[in-house]
Amino acid sequence: MLGPADWVIWFLATLFEALVVVCSLHRNAFRRYFFLNLYMLFSVLVSVGQFRVLIHYGRSSLEYRYFYFYSQALLVISLYFALISLYSLVFRELKVEQYVRFGAVLLLAGTAWFSYAAVNQSSSRMVTHFAFELSQNLYFVGLVLTYVLWGAILKLRETRALLVQVVLSLGVYFSAHAASYAISNLRPDLFFRMGYLLPVIGCLLPLAWAYAIWRVPEEARIEPARLAVAHR
C-alpha cells in the first residue's frame, strides 16, 4: 500500500530529474552535458516504470524487487558513462579521450566480471544477487573514479565552477549510495527498513545539478584548491 510519502518522493524525484533537462535546454547546455542529461532522461523513464510496478504489485513483491534492482543496475551504468563524459571534459586539452573511453569500458567489464565471480561463489540466487552486487560495486567504482577526477581537477587547476559543482555533487551521490548499499549488504534485513533513504538520496543529485546548471554561469570560475583547505 502506498502512503502519501511514497507519492511525494516519487513526484519530487521525477520532477527534479526532468528539471535538470529543462534547465540544460534553457541554458543551451544540453549537448555539452549530453550524457548527464541522458542519464536524467533514463531516470525519468525508470521512475515512471518503477511507480507503475509499485502500484500494481506493492513494495514487498518479488516483481518490484526485480524491477528495482535491474533498473538501478542499468541506471548506474548510464551514470557511470556520465561520469566518464566529465573525465573527457576535464582531460579534453590533453587529448586523451580515447584512452579514457577504452579504460572506462575495460573497468566496467572488470567490475561486471568481479560481481559475477563474487555472486557465483556465495549465492544460489544468482540472478537477483548479480544486479545488487553489480550496482554496489559500480557505485563504489564510481566513487573511486569521482575521487580520482576530483584529484585531477585539483592537480590540473580546473576552474570551471559549474564542472566543479557537478563533480562534487556526483561524489556526494556516489558515496551516499555506496555506503547505503554496503550497509544493506552487511545487514540485508536493513535494506527494506531503510525505506525512504535511497529515494531521498536519489532526489539530491538532480536537485544539485539543476541548481548548478541554472545558477552557475558557464564562464564562472572558482579555485578548487581553496575548497580543500580547511584552515587559513
Partner: protein, 133 residues
C-alpha cells in the same frame, strides 16, 4: 568484510565531498554584493556572523521558494549544523578550529542572505508579471 571496508571508505568520502560541495556553494555566493535593502533587513553590513544565520533563514522562509534554490539552502543548513556540532565538541579543544568554524558559520549566513536577495527579486518579478496581466 569487503562490504564493511566499502562502507567505511564511502562514509569518509561522503563527508569529504559534502564538505567540499558546501564550500563551493559558499565560494560562489561570497563574490556577490548584497543590495542596501537586504543589508538593512538582515543587519549584515560587510561580513556576516554565524549568529545571523538563524535570523536570515527565518526571513528566507517567508519568501516563496524556488525549486532550483532548495538544494543549496538545504545543503548549507546541514553544513551549518555540522559546523555547530564541531564548534561545540572538537573546537573547544582546538582554538584554531574554533576560529575557522566561526568564519565558516559567517559565510553560511552570507550565503543565506544572497539566497534571500534572489528570492526577493523573484517575488518582485512574479508580482510585476501579475500586475501586467
Amino acid at each position: 568484510m569487503i562490504a564493511a571496508v566499502i562502507f567505511v571508505i564511502s562514509a569518509a568520502a561522503l563527508l569529504q565531498f559534502f564538505f567540499f560541495y558546501c564550500r563551493s556553494l559558499i565560494a560562489a555566493s561570497a563574490k556577490q554584493v548584497l543590495s542596501a535593502e537586504v543589508k538593512d533587513v538582515t543587519g549584515i553590513e560587510r561580513t556576516a556572523s554565524g549568529d545571523d544565520f538563524k535570523r536570515v533563514m527565518q526571513l528566507l522562509q517567508l519568501c516563496p521558494e524556488r525549486p532550483e534554490d532548495r538544494t543549496g539552502v538545504q545543503a548549507i543548513g546541514a553544513y551549518f549544523s555540522l559546523l555547530n556540532f564541531l564548534r561545540s565538541t572538537v573546537a573547544r579543544i582546538v582554538p584554531s578550529l574554533r576560529a575557522w568554524t566561526e568564519l565558516e558559520r559567517g559565510q553560511c549566513a552570507y550565503f543565506a542572505a544572497v539566497a534571500l536577495e534572489r528570492r526577493i527579486s523573484f517575488s518582485r518579478d512574479m508580482l510585476a508579471q501579475q500586475m501586467d496581466a
